[in-house]
Every structure is written in structure tokens, then in C-alpha cells.
Symmetry: C4
Subunit: 306 residues, 4 copies
């Protein structure tokens, strides 16, 4: 039996019902187990965290390390830390904690300072740890900031719109940010699910040919169009057919982001219930009195039913 | 009706007069409203700010944070901050402000230090904030510096110059910096505006074929040439025709910058009134007595009228 | 004599037995001597070190620099460093060492401070050195973290599996991390060793054509397939033939890592003894009750013998 | 007159004698004047400086800023800086200088501290300046380290070697570093100089076709071969012809550096006097007793005269 002519990297045979293949945030609906690694995963996890969680984690880490070193200094006894005056308004642990803060952050006021070799060794270690820890935090912050997050906006739904003498399947996208995207290319695939004679489900993938695969600039909106001609796997199919096939249209967009001088890559998908039959997209921009084009991002998914 | 054969990503139908599509700094003349995001926009904004504004912002932020924490320390009363001597020549707010400076920058002389748990907690928080804030500033500085800003210089005007038996549309560019650009490629498009039967304006885009789309090195100048042959949309057109069509020539240049080891991408455009008919470019370089080629960047747009 | 039609960059003629060409970690089995450089090599070495070794090196460097400066301060005599109180519980070298720590890390408690111009000059130099040293460490940490280390998992063995009417040579790979890999492409080469009439060994390289060179996403596993048809250099060969030829299959995988927004590149190889004849890969994933695909990374190399 | 069929980006017409087009370090032999910019140029200059110069500049900058601030503190008089004890063994300028060091580096021992609002304001400004300055230095250090400097080694000379029934023009290259280069591609051009009827010199560029433009890995050496067949511009030319034409062979190498996960790009050239007629390259590697290939980088240019 010959090999399948197209494989987008997903499995093609399985049992049981399945959720969508590509989530709305562009991630794949795949879980991992077994030999999953650690280091790279931690970095990625910290880079992908939401900002509140990231800052929470930084704060918690700061607290934890200081509590840990405070416990160490406290164990060394009250002789290990000398203070500028007798009454600092702090308990022994309090003195130890804030001395740890002074050391970890390298602020080192000197109102509390270590006495004896043990306390000094612990402080020297903590200062190194602090510098390296904040180096990591600096790197993470920079990585988080400098990732091209020029999230594209996709229309909520695809439409099946009149096109020439027939129809076409379309979706629309725009760039949410003001950064310039050039050489933007699109790929569209149809994933369908069929039950084979042995009763197992089977995923089929077919590329959907596009009227235009690439544009030079994404300045306003781009309507990506798959003409439903005789060669299209959608030819002669109605909404009910797509539902029965559990059709999902997988989309891959690539472009060059001039602000980040990097190639960016976005995935998206529409399932059969997100296709509007007999509709077309309404304009999403207008011209201001001074002659500027004004793109209304809230209207990227605006549809006119026919 | 068939789809248009070429779409550079701009809209194709609108009402009213319009400004140029691509500004002289390479940005698109498009405004956004609706779902515009924040975080990514802030980063980009800070990276794209002019240097005086960037430094002004850093200084203002520094001042603001210190005033804020000074107010906090002042609220804690004069007992919260102990000074090395009775008279520091400062008011309570002054002491609080400079203690905040010592903490935020982690300079921590210790001539002023916090007393009691509340002041210490605020100071510990400020030290963390300072380190993270300067981490962000470091990242931004690096991002600003390391962006390939090898701005190309374009000739002020295009020329319609004799070419073989006919004519060609030309512009010239050079690299302002000494960094090496290789694999430099050009794309040229003609955008015209026409009024359709319903009275709406409509933008048309046509690719202008180039005599040479790519050069290996951009060492001196590069004259990009569109031969006006029968297949050219400019065939038989005169200056008045281009004015009537509100013609704008859109240009996209891509190249590899060896100093930044990154692909760079520049956009430019010429409108009909920036085309010089019957002219050609004058040489922009000379040979020094020692045999060096000397490129005169001020002559990239030098034209000889014919 | 005509030039060989395919050269993957390895030598083609040598004497004596040879180890495998590509190690299991993707590095080439080549040693260098002669003009090897330093600076770039040190950076790469530090970036490629294992984490325990890296941290060990950071700690050792910290210790060494502090010992060095402590020796300098000690040489300046006990008058060069003044302490907050007479008995710090430290020897002169101890005071010098921890003063060096305070200076290198810029923690600067001030319980020990330099007296006189010489000690101050040394301390000023050390503070600069400390800042630059930690700048280097920060950069290295960031470089280590931000390298796309999305190591692919390869099946332990290749299989010769039934394929259509004949057979094919296959291996399987998966992405260990959850980061999204797109536009993943594979190249496969057969390297064989033959003895020429003069008794010298000679390496031959032949490209092995793939059923599919590229997939859009690497979401689950990808089975890369070389059909053994008449045009294949493996046509009619048995296990014994490959052993005699010391066959090694060289593999190059390229893909775009969306988390690191970078192209990544992995090399791998299988030798003749790592090929399983008459087998096929077993499924490496299952569907969870909620409909999620679950990829079991420990089963990427799972084989069914036929 | 028709346009030239090949233009690598150099000028094509000039007067007077010229030095080589591409220097041995890969830079172009072009000088700039006129509108040269500043900011981007400074960054590039600092990134490209040799290490001794870079460190010298850092040290000088450190000295200069401290002298400047020391002068400011000195101008504020002896009351502006308070010291821990009467005799610090320093003059007023000495105290001011080392206080500046403590502030700029944020080491802040506190043995010298500012008194009064003016001194405090200057110190607060210096601390900010110090943090931003070291942020810039950190960024520059990282940029210097993380630039792919995998300098290739080229053979000193090209050879015209026997090839099939005729000859070929060859050069050889190897990777000095142990980093893996993949997808390495070469372009070769012949530049000749001719005097036109008006007495002006004119540069001509012709691409030299390569037997193989691209290799998958650069593990050992790569001999890049231009077969001198009838279609070659070198067909029938002897050494004297190339001298008369002032021939220079321009070379552009591109590859993907796996350690830096970046595309790297190297330029090189050979002039007519660097071509060895009737020679071939000698092997540059051997096999160690354990079966390792050992590449001898000092033999990349090793030639056997025939």
C-alpha cells in the first residue's frame, strides 16, 4: 500500500473521540509523558508565564531565598551579626532576614554586618548567588520582552463566499501591533476524521490550495482565499458533510517582523462549526478626514450574511 | 469575477483622498483602533523612541520611583531612618529621598539606614524593584543598540532614463554604514488609484519587473532598474498620466547584515511627483590617490538631466 | 576522472579504521590541531558546558579572584584596611578576603574599608573587574538559557519495514519539549567505506531519497521514510552487505522553533548494527478519556518485529 | 545598449588604478564620506574593536567619569563629603575620586558619604549613570561574545588543478572552530578590469559556475571547484592574461552555525598573483590510532605542485 501523499506531522490513526488539533492560542493539543526534560522546559515555562505569575514567582523566590539565608544566619547565633546600634527594632531572625536582603541585593548598607569567618563565608556565598540569580532574572526579563508577540488577529469565523462563478473558503487576519510584517505567507490544511473498516478513527490531511500564498506587506487586513474548484477536497461538500467528517482547517502563517528582525510563526484553526456558509467579510477600515487609513481591529471578523 | 493577480497586503477599495501608502521612514500610513494591545506595544515603543526621549524617560522614571518611596519612608516618620550623624543637611523628605536612591541603585552607603521592621520591609521591596527595573533598562538598552539600523540611503527621486532602445525607471540606494550587506534583494510595485463606475476609489497594484532582483554585495551604490518594455504597466505613460493615477512606487529591500548577523528589511516609496523624466544618475564615488574607492553618500541622489 | 556527484563535507579518502562520523550527540567525530583559535572557542566552551561544570567554574573563578585580591590587600599590610571594630574574628588575610568579596560583588557593607591611596586604587580596580566579570557571567547565563535545546528524540534503531510492494528504511523522531516546531525538514545520506585498488579506504556518500522531506508541524512523532526502490543504493542489499560496507546513515534535521524564534538544526546517525530488519514502529501515543492526544516519549523507539 | 547581465554590487566604471575589491578580512575596500551616521556606527565600532582596545576603552571611560565626578565633588568643598575618620590618607580630590568610584560601581562602603543636598543630588545622578553605563558595557560584552566569529580558514592560494579531461580552478576552506557548520554554500565571481575606448577603466563581473554550490556539513575541509570548461570565462586564459585583466576572484560563503543558531557569512578574494598554476591540494587530515579523524588546520593551504 502506498504512503499517504501529505503528512503535516500529526498522527493519522487512533481510537476514540478527539478535541481540536490546534488550540486557539496556536499550541498543539498534545500532551507529553515519558522522557520529558527539565532545564529547557523550565526556561520556556518562565518565558511563557503570564506577567502577574512571573512577577509573583520573582517575589516568592526573593522571599524564599532570604528566609533560607536568614535561617542560616540565625543558626549561627546572635554573635554572627553585628548591628550599628543595640536596638534595631528587630528580632534576631529579623536582623538575619534583612541582612540577607542587604547581601542578596548587594545593597549592603553596613548597619548590619557579619562577624567571624562562618557568617562571612555564608554572606560571600549569598552575594554570589544574588548576582547570579538577578542575572538569570535579567535574562528572563529580556527574553520575555524581546519575543515577537505580534499576535495576529484572526476573524472569529471562516466564510464560504461567492468567488468568480463558484465559491471560496476564506478567513481574514490583521496585525494587532503597529510593527511592520513583511513577506507574510499562509498555508491551509483540511483535517478530516474517518472511521476505517476495523472501526478505528483515522485522520486525513489535505492541503487546501490558496489563491495567493504570500503577500509583501501586512499593512491592513489580508483575506486568505481557498477557491473551491473541482480539485478542492471541499468540492460538493455541504455543512453537514463537514460536521460528519469533524473537519478542522489548520492554518500556518509565517512572516518577517521588522521590529524584532525575526521570522514569526503563528498557528490557528477553524472547526466545522466555525464556518459561516453564504457570507462575506465587511470592510474593516475607513479613511480619516486627513487621508489616513484607519484599521478597526474590532471589525476583522465582521461578516455580511448573504 | 476572478480574484486580482497581485495583492501586496494593502486594501484595494475605499472612498476619499488618501495620503501616501509608505512614509519616507518606511512605516505604513495606517492607523489602528479597536483591540490594540499593550505589553508588546510598550516594549516596541521604548525600543523605537529617540535617544533623548529614552534617556529622559529613564531619568523621569528614576525620579518618580524615588519620590514615591521617599513619600513612603516619610510617612513612617523620622524614627524609621537612622542617620550616621545628627545633621545630614537634609530635611526628613530629603533623607528619605536619598535613602531611596541608595536602596534603588543598591549603592547603600549606610550613612542612612532603616530602623524597625516596616522601614526594612519597604527597603527590601525597593531593592528588588530597583534590580528588576535596571534589568529591564539593561535589556532595553541592549535591544536598542543591537537592532540593525543600517538605514539605506535612497536617491531623492526616481529617474526615467534611456535604456537600450527605450527607457527604464530607476532609483539608486547605498548603505550609509560601513557594515557589509550581502544578498540584497529588491521588489518594486506600482500602486495606482482609479475611480470605479460607482464613484469609489480603488487601489491597483502591479509588480514592476526588475532587470536584476538581487545582488551579492552592496559595497557601493546599487541602481535598481525597471525596464519600461511592452509588458510594463508604465509603457506609453507620460508624467501627466502618472499624476492622474496618483501613482506611487512601493519598494521593499531585503538583505543580510553581517555585523548584526540578521536579515534586514527596508521599505520606501516614490510618488509621481518624485519621478524625474529624462535624467540619469551621476557617479557617486571616486578613486583616491592610493587606489581606494571613496563613496560620497551625499551624491547618492545626484542626477544628470538629459 | 569526473568529480563525485555528492559531497556532504566529509573527507573521501583515508587509511585505517574509523569511528562513526556523527556522534549520538550530533557532533562530528573530528579533532582539530594547528591554528585553532581561542576567544570564540572559550565562549562556545562555556556555553556548551554542563550546568554542574558551569556553576563549578563560576564558583571557582569567584574564589580565585577573591584569593588573588586578598593576597594583594594582605601585601599592603594591616594599615590598608580599617575595620568597624578591633576584633572582627578574622585574620589579616581573612579581612582582606572578605573585603575583596564586598568589593567584587559591590555589596560594600563598609564594616571593612580601604585606607590610603594604594588600597583604594586596588579596590577601585576590583570593583570594575567585578562588574565586568558579572556582566560576562550574565551574558553567558542568558546565552545558555536562550539556546534552542529542543533536543529531538530519535528512535534507538532504524527499521527496514514493509512499504507498498517492497521495503523502506525508516527512523522516527519526536520533540522532547512542548515548544512548537514547524517547517521541519529531513535529509538522509548513506556513507559507505570501500577499499580501493591501492589498499586505501574510501568513503562514499549517497543521498537517500525520502518519501517526504518536510512536514509543517512536528506535533507528535514523524516517521522519516526512505523507500528502497530500484534507484536506492540499498536496493538488493542485506544486513551482511551493510556491515561489510561499514554503512552509516547520516541524518540532518532542520526546523523552526517558535519558542526561541530560531531555526534549529540537529544531526544524528545510525550505523549498520543499529538497523532492525523486518520490523515496524509501534504507535507512541494514545488518546486520554477527555480526548487529548498523549505522546509517550519513552515509546518513540518502540518496534514491532514482524 | 543593454544592461550588464551580472552586477555583484560593485561599481563598473572608474578611472585610475585600484586596490583589491575585497580585503583578506572580508571587508570591502570602500571608504565612505558625506552623510555617515553616528549611533549605529559607534555600536558597531565597539563591537568590532579588538579585545585589548575594548578593555582599554572601558578602563579609560571608567577613569574619565570618575575624574569628572571627583572634580564636581571637589568643587563642592570639603564639607560635601564626610569620612568615617579624620585621616583617610587621601587628599580632598582623592576622597572625591574614591567616593565617585564607590558610587559609580554602587559598591558604597559608606566610609565616605555625601553631606547636604547638592552632594547627594550629584551622587544620585552618578549612581544612575553608573548603572546605565555598566548596562551598556554588559550589552556590548554580550554582543561581542555572541557574534558568530567562526572564521573560516581559506587556502593561501587558489590552484589550477587537473580535472577530468581538463582543468579546474579550486580553493579550499575549513572551519577553524569546533562549532558545527551546516548547509554551507559558496558563490564565486571573476572580476576583471578593462580599458574602454575612451580610456576609462571598467570592471567586469562574471559568475564562475561551481561543480557543487552547497554541502550539508563542513566537518573537515571543502574544496570548492570551478571546472574550466568552454562556458568558463577562464577558458583558454593563461597566467599572463589574468595579470593583464587584473583578475580578482570574489568569494561569498554562507552557512548555518549551530552553536550560535545563526546564519554566518564570509567574504574572501584571490587576485591573479595568488593563483598557483598546475598544482593540487594535499590532504590536510590524518586518522589517529583510535580511529579519530584529525584535521590539521595549518595544512588547509598545503599544495602539491605538479
Amino acid at each position: 500500500m502506498a504512503a499517504p501523499s501529505f503528512d503535516p506531522g500529526f498522527t493519522q490513526q487512533y481510537t476514540g473521540p478527539l478535541l481540536r488539533a490546534i488550540n486557539k492560542d496556536g499550541s498543539f493539543n498534545v500532551r507529553r509523558r515519558g522522557l520529558t526534560g527539565f532545564a529547557g522546559g523550565v526556561y520556556m515555562h518562565l518565558v511563557n508565564l503570564s506577567w502577574p505569575r512571573f512577577w509573583g514567582l520573582v517575589f516568592l523566590g526573593y522571599l524564599l531565598v532570604n528566609v533560607l539565608f536568614a535561617a542560616l544566619y540565625t543558626m549561627l547565633g546572635s554573635a554572627a551579626l553585628r548591628t550599628a546600634e543595640r536596638d534595631m527594632g528587630l528580632t534576631l531572625f529579623g536582623k538575619a532576614f534583612f541582612f540577607s536582603v542587604h547581601t542578596l541585593t548587594t545593597v549592603g548598607y553596613g548597619d548590619i554586618y557579619p562577624l567571624g569567618i562562618t557568617a562571612n563565608v555564608v554572606a560571600a556565598t549569598e552575594a554570589l548567588l544574588g548576582l547570579m540569580g538577578f542575572a538569570i532574572a535579567t535574562g528572563l526579563l529580556f527574553a520575555r520582552f524581546s519575543r515577537p508577540n505580534a499576535r495576529l488577529i484572526f476573524s472569529d469565523r471562516m466564510v464560504v463566499a461567492p468567488y468568480g462563478d463558484g465559491h471560496s473558503l476564506q478567513f481574514r487576519l490583521a496585525n494587532r501591533r503597529a510593527n511592520v510584517l513583511t513577506d507574510v505567507a499562509a498555508d491551509m490544511m483540511l483535517m478530516t476524521v474517518e472511521r476505517d473498516p476495523t472501526g478505528q478513527f483515522r485522520r486525513n490531511f489535505t492541503e487546501l490550495k490558496l489563491e495567493r500564498k504570500k503577500i509583501f506587506f501586512l499593512a491592513l487586513t489580508w483575506t486568505v482565499v481557498h477557491p473551491i474548484d473541482e480539485s478542492s477536497p471541499l468540492a460538493g461538500k455541504a455543512a453537514a458533510d463537514l460536521e460528519r467528517l469533524q473537519a478542522e482547517v489548520l492554518i500556518l502563517i509565517r512572516g518577517y517582523d521588522d521590529s524584532f528582525t525575526q521570522v514569526v510563526n503563528t498557528r490557528y484553526s477553524y472547526r466545522w462549526e466555525e464556518i459561516e456558509w453564504q457570507a462575506r467579510f465587511a470592510p474593516a477600515f475607513e479613511v480619516s478626514p486627513e487621508g489616513h487609513l484607519v484599521l478597526d481591529l474590532s471589525r476583522v471578523g465582521a461578516i455580511l450574511r448573504l
